[in-house]
């Protein structure tokens, strides 16, 4: 397979050599990761008493992070799947990042469940004694199925690039990398027949992962929705979670575009047009997300069920700042920044994305924690520090470790594979893309 030399050089900045900057950045993330591991060891040694979780609030940061990372994953799948299916012209420089977000987040997310489980040694019970009626079982089946599907889709999208790298003689890489490209490319040589088979497989899998992403994230939402807990028992939680996931994923995509553009000087490939397009998508999703949020809280407030009223009072008192940030500032500010053409600069759109993604994380926090702090019946110990959840440094460290692992995996993948799809970029409409 042949490809433009410049294109290969530009899109594989870390494959041949590793810069000092790369090592330093990786070391910093690794230090955060190590701190998280230390926290985890302490937690395993002393038990969950070292976390802020107690009898009432049994789900803390870990579940918030789990939902957040799973949301990023499903949004990545949705964005890349939709872009692929509809042959969006400008998708090509960003589609690979969306695919990577999908797989990396999906690998990290479930670890937070492991951190949250008190008796990890009993985890295999989920597989040997599953009850089909349990939403937890649905979630286990769904995540496993999704993980395999997303890996498969990612691999399909990488085959052509591996073949290009395999056949590019000027690529100065270690012999093991060449062997890896040879093995992973499956001998793909880009014949018409191979292209057709690969294209069909990618299209089928793109459609499939859209469906799976919607179903799987709905299942996660139903874990909350099917309970009778105030704030969770909602019929719109499935679609609400899906929209929220796309909101966060779009935000993350913009941030990654900005980082890779800046670090690897990809200004030629990731242009303002990409930022504006993804930004507009973020605005549209924000509008839907805001609509769902408003509908959910309005019906709860108007219904005036006692526990719902207590919860909403709590959200507007104890959690006032977080609630306003998550559900007003986090939705309206990105919309305002992107809606006015005057504000649509690359830094502004990136700032809007940072606000959106932070607000979404806070939104997850105020969905999980205040509800658990509002039990129908208080459980045994009613001291304030047991009712009110406050995360400990161990939970913070594992949260930061999760983000660090996300960054490290992205960096490691950039050492092996192109961060922007070469094969997509060298297609006929390349000039159109780069306009």
């Amino acid at each position: 397979m042949e490809a433009d030399k410049k294109l290969i050089k530009d899109l594989t900045p870390e494959i041949e050599k590793t810069s000092l900057k790369w090592y330093i950045t990786f070391f910093i993330f690794f230090a955060f990761f190590a701190a998280g591991i230390y926290g985890l060891i302490l937690q395993i040694d002393k038990g969950h008493i070292v976390t802020g979780m107690r009898d009432n609030v049994v789900w803390g940061f870990y579940i918030v992070n789990f939902i957040f990372f799973m949301g990023l994953s499903y949004s990545g799948a949705l964005i890349s799947g939709v872009m692929h299916l509809f042959h969006t012209g400008w998708r090509k420089p960003v589609i690979r990042m969306a695919e990577l977000i999908t797989v990396i987040s999906l690998v990290i997310g479930p670890f937070f469940i492991f951190f949250c489980i008190g008796r990890l040694d009993r985890l295999y019970f989920l597989f040997i004694h599953p009850r089909i009626q349990s939403p937890i079982t649905w979630d286990v089946i769904a995540i496993c199925t999704d993980l395999i599907g997303c890996f498969l889709y990612l691999y399909l999208s990488f085959i052509e690039d591996f073949a290009i790298l395999r056949d590019y003689a000027d690529l100065n890489v270690a012999p093991w990398k060449r062997k890896l490209y040879k093995a992973l490319s499956l001998g793909y040589s880009g014949t018409e027949r191979q292209q057709k088979i690969l294209s069909n497989a990618k299209t089928i899998m793109a459609a499939m992962i859209i469906a799976i992403a919607i179903i799987v994230y709905s299942v996660l939402a139903w874990i909350f929705g099917v309970t009778l807990q105030p704030g969770w028992h909602s019929t719109i939680f499935g679609p609400y979670f899906v929209i929220a996931a796309v909101f966060s994923g779009t935000g993350l995509l913009i941030i990654l575009m900005w980082i890779f553009r800046k670090v690897y000087h990809l200004e030629e490939y990731i242009t303002k047009r990409h930022f504006v397009n993804v930004g507009v998508l973020l605005t549209v999703i924000a509008a839907f997300y805001g609509y769902f949020t408003f509908s959910d809280y309005l019906t709860k407030w108007y219904g005036s069920i006692k526990m719902d009223s207590i919860l909403i009072d709590k959200l507007f008192s104890d959690y006032y700042s977080l609630f306003i940030f998550a559900n007003y500032i986090g939705i309206l500010l990105p919309c305002i920044i992107i809606a006015f053409p005057k504000f649509r600069t690359i830094p502004n759109i990136t700032i809007a994305a940072v606000i959106a993604i932070t607000a979404l994380w806070v939104n997850r926090y105020i969905i999980v924690i205040p509800t658990l702090e509002t039990p129908f019946l208080p459980i045994q110990d009613t001291r304030i520090d047991w009712i009110k959840y406050t995360p400990t440094w161990i939970e913070w460290s594992l949260t930061i470790a999760g983000v660090s692992v996300f960054a490290m995996l992205f960096m490691l993948i950039s050492k092996i594979a192109p961060i922007i799809s070469i094969s997509e970029m060298q297609e006929k409409d390349k000039n159109e893309i780069l306009k």
């Binding site: 009626q133 199925t145 040589s189 027949r193 690969l198 089928i204 110990d381």
Partner: protein, 300 residues
């Protein structure tokens, strides 16, 4: 470096080494656990007497058990005699059954004295608990007249061979349910040491209507815990078995629609995965064929 300077440095080093040790020792001394020790007396419906000691401590305003600790049980007040030594279980409880032939010294008020003691160790302080018990006999008679079910209670003590009633004492009546004892009522004994209680007629029993009725002196300061238990057909016969074929969220067999939905979804998804995997295999086979023909070349 002068000798004086060297001395100062070595002293500082020595102090810096000893200081953490002394602080640690002080901390350990300060954090020695003060246990709660509680001795209780039980007499069941078979007149089997049991002494039970609970050893626990308070941490973070929670009571936690102290398992694996040796508790010594004694009989007698002023002159104590060791009955036995028992190690506490995971709940911090040590129990000993008092044999019916065990002779117990009686004081001039006709009371038995018992005590239990924990000797302490490096981390836990010693503790002791004492009780005095007067042996009481609790009797229960069940009668039914015109569909009115009545429990008649009588309690008395024997002192110097004379039977004496125990007026003013409270006897509680329970029926065991799935998780705990359901309180039915309580009776305060009159001056003859007797009392009655009308028993409800609408309590579900087993499939034959059997109910276990328990009457007891509970944590009584003089008599301890004394219980009388009777099984009587005073309940409403109730069939609890669930049809095994019933499919529901709470049974072992899930609803059929759920199995079908899940199976269809999984089959659909995995079918598509299979298609993608087969496509990869076909690409591999095709590539081998192309390579054999020497069709693709390496870019220079």
């Amino acid at each position: 470096m002068s000798v004086m300077k060297k001395n100062i440095i070595s002293k500082v080093l020595l102090l810096s080494f000893l200081l953490p040790l002394s602080v640690k020792a002080y901390t350990q001394e300060k954090t020695k656990i003060s246990p709660y020790i509680q001795l209780q007396y039980f007499k069941d419906t078979e007149d089997q007497r049991v002494l039970q000691t609970t050893l626990s401590y308070s941490k973070d305003r929670m009571e936690l058990p102290l398992p694996g600790m040796e508790i010594s049980f004694f009989k007698g007040g002023v002159t104590r005699e060791l009955i036995s030594r028992i190690t506490t279980n995971n709940k911090g409880i040590a129990r000993i059954e008092l044999g019916k032939d065990l002779k117990l010294p009686v004081d001039r008020d006709g009371m038995w004295a018992f005590s239990s003691e924990y000797m302490g160790n490096d981390t836990i302080e010693a503790g002791k608990s004492e009780i005095t018990i007067k042996d009481v006999r609790l009797e229960m008679a069940l009668t039914e007249t015109d569909s009115i079910k009545t429990i008649s209670l009588k309690a008395f003590i024997k002192q110097n061979g004379i039977i004496k009633p125990v007026p003013g004492e409270v006897v509680k009546i329970y029926v065991p349910r799935m998780f705990s004892l359901l309180p039915i009522g309580e009776v305060t004994l009159d001056e003859t040491g007797t009392g009655t209680l009308e028993f409800p007629s609408d309590l579900p029993g087993d499939k034959e209507g059997n109910l276990t009725i328990i009457t007891k002196f509970e944590e009584n300061q003089v008599f301890g815990n004394v219980e009388r238990k009777v099984i009587q057909k005073w309940g409403v016969p109730t069939e609890y078995s669930v049809p095994s074929s019933h499919r529901a969220l709470w049974t072992k067999t899930p609803p059929m629609w759920m199995i079908i939905t899940l199976s269809v979804l999984l089959a659909g998804v995995w079918g598509h995965y299979l298609f993608a995997i087969i496509s990869l295999i076909i690409i591999r086979i095709d590539a081998k064929r192309e390579a054999a023909k020497g069709k693709y070349k390496i870019q220079k």
